[in-house]
């Protein structure tokens, strides 16, 4: 038990047993998947057509926005090049869906149906359509366990989108609340502020929404403000998640450029 906590020697045991446990979990998940499939089979033609029309309209909207985003991104890269700083823009994502199984109720963990066979690794950021969900905690060959950002043992570096103030958002054990810790009373944070990942921990890529500030309580006599945050991701509702793999393309190109440039110090 203590070996597992220290994270070294018990890992092979857990891996071997997880192969044994996977069929049980898959068996529990199966009826829910079948139910969804049946529902699709029996939904009427008209409903489907309506849905397709809706999705097409939505896609058109997003494509229009994406065009603008492309232009902005190019501009941003150009500006950054002028400033001679590297910037990671491209990230590849992998879609996965949650398995309908309940895990340890004391911890905020969910299981997804992609594992190390598809390249999932420990510490990989997990998003849903609205924001950051958490990070991968354990990986099996066919499934992985994700620790949500609201788990009491999880903390994520964030930045206020409006003012740029940096902070750490810690889980509280409540799926609808995070807490900013060690923020001084005079920090520029207001209710309604959007928090995004700052990318400082090196785990989460910068710029993804984490949540919105719901309340700022300043108690005279306390050194730090008590700031509650509502997570942006639908932590207890989403079924589809995205696994982000930050690619080092931007860094590699700048490194290559640096190498081709003749440096004065090199003989």
């Amino acid at each position: 038990m203590f070996l597992d906590h220290r994270r070294q020697l018990a890992q092979p045991v857990r891996d071997a047993l997880s192969l044994l446990a996977y069929p049980v979990q898959a068996a529990v998940d199966l009826p829910f998947g079948l139910g969804a499939q049946l529902k699709e089979q029996f939904s009427s033609r008209r409903q489907l057509l309506e849905q397709i029309a809706q999705l097409q309209a939505q896609q058109l909207l997003y494509e229009a926005r994406l065009q603008r985003l492309d232009a902005l991104e190019r501009e941003n890269i150009a500006l950054r090049e002028l400033l001679q700083s590297s910037y990671q823009v491209t990230e590849s994502v992998l879609a996965a869906s949650l398995m309908r199984v309940d895990l340890d109720p004391a911890a905020h963990l969910v299981q997804i149906n992609k594992g190390s066979r598809t390249g999932v690794y420990v510490g990989q950021p997990v998003l849903d359509a609205r924001g950051v969900m958490g990070q991968v905690d354990q990986v099996g060959p066919l499934s992985a366990v994700v620790r949500l950002i609201t788990d009491p043992s999880h903390a994520i570096p964030v930045q206020v989108n409006r003012s740029g103030v940096r902070a750490i958002a810690q889980g509280t054990g409540d799926t609808s609340r995070l807490e900013l810790v060690h923020v001084p009373n005079n920090a520029d944070i207001e209710p309604g502020d959007l928090l995004v990942t700052s990318g400082f921990g090196g785990r989460f890529p910068p710029g993804y929404p984490v949540g919105r500030v719901t309340s700022v309580v300043i108690e005279p006599g306390q050194p730090f403000a008590r700031i509650s945050v509502e997570p942006a991701a639908a932590l207890d509702r989403s079924r589809q998640v995205l696994l982000v793999r930050p690619s080092n393309q931007a860094i590699e190109t700048t490194a290559a450029e640096a190498e081709t440039e003749p440096t004065a110090g090199r003989p």
Binding site: A10, R14, V24, A27, D102, A106, A107, S153
Partner: protein
Amino acid sequence: MTETRHQGGWFIVASFLLAYVLTIVPLPPWLTYARPDWVALVLVYWCFALPERVGVGVGWLCGLLQDVLQSSLLGQHALAYALLAFLTLKLHQQVRVFPLWQQALSVMLLLLAVRLLVLWSNSFVGRPLPVTSYWLGALTGAVLWPAVFFLMRELRHRFGVR
């Protein structure tokens, strides 16, 4: 210890598998804490019924699998279930002759002991204390014990598990 004496091992395995399925099957949020510890209930039953076949070793293995299944700390349920099996083996001569409600009461005490051990190992590694309804699972386990007991006994006689 010949082949003719021990029969129906598959049914013991199947009952544990079903218990695992019930352990991780999703429940509505307000029910999650009331979920009884199915594997512990089945383990207690087999320790009562066949103390010479199911004991501390089986309990330990069951706990290990449960830890992997729930991705809790590896070994905490193993420790708790091994102790559960030990206590049940110690007590089974007395508890067997109790009326059913007294059996349920003693099962509740055993389940509370399991929860206490899991809580202890959790706090040992610095997890925060759970809410009060954490203890509710032991109560629902005791309430369900008569049903589990009768069902398992019926099935055990039907399949001739010895």
